[in-house]
Amino acid sequence: MEPLFFWILAVGLVVSASALVAFRNPVTNAVCLVVALVIQAALFITLEAFFLAAVQVIVYAGAVMVLFLFVIMLLDVKEEARRTPPWVKIVGVLAVGGVAILGLTKIVPLFPFTQKTLHWGQGKGGGSAAELGKLLFTSYSPLFLATGVLLLVATVGVVVLCRKDPES
């Protein structure tokens, strides 16, 4: 059962990510991105990272996607003009992709620690909000405070950047 879930999610993730890169309409791209992010949240659940799966859906698929869609709406971005990309680029991308897929199946088994298997439910835990919170508010509390400052700076920066120039 576990391999089945993994393969469905893996194929879905790769297909939606490739669609994001391939399609030209920005709204289609945004939909592809949201599908990829939700599939990633499902992969987090297969890795027993439940809190992160929830955060992924709320922050990425929620807040970040709304930002993207607002900017698409605001800028009224048109479809990119259809152009024939140079053959060198297409051949290069296909070659690198093919070599990567073939190479990954060969390289990954060379490292013994990648052969570890762990069934769902056998993880040591650490995926729940309580356990993450304990770490976050004890050993990582300085980083947590720094993140708060970072978000404040980002908010102020966005407001300053988006302000209309008062002199013009």
Binding site: P3, W7, A10, L13, V14, A17, L20, V21, P26, N29, L33, Q40, L43, F44, L47, A49, F51, L52, V55, Q56, V59, Y60, V64, L67, F68, V71, I72, L75, V77, E80, K89, V93, V96, G97, A100, I101, L104, T105, V108, P109, T114, Q115, K116, T117, L118, G123, G126, G127, E131, L132, L135, L136, T147, L150, A154, T155, G157, V158, L161, C162
Partner: protein, 104 residues
Amino acid sequence: MIFGEITLGHYLALSSLLFLIGLAGVILRRSLLIIMMSLELLLNAANLALVAVGRFQGLPDPQVAVFFVITVAAAEVALGLAILVAIFRIKKTTAADQLATLRF
């Protein structure tokens, strides 16, 4: 062997594949908006690798790192899109190859 039990290697391979796709998007696309979406893919690939390694090694710390990565990514998207809107106001375009003022 590939289609048997799911190992840590499967997750790492999927993560590197996702990273490659995102990198292709950053290199090949011209629209700044799509480039930023591809950057999100890159960050997600890193997140997936971190969570997978953390779970298979029995460590909760990588998940805290992913938590911070998600926070920083949210700040990055907000700032990046604000810069995008500011550029669009001045240049009336978001195509990366039209913004060549600094090239010489």
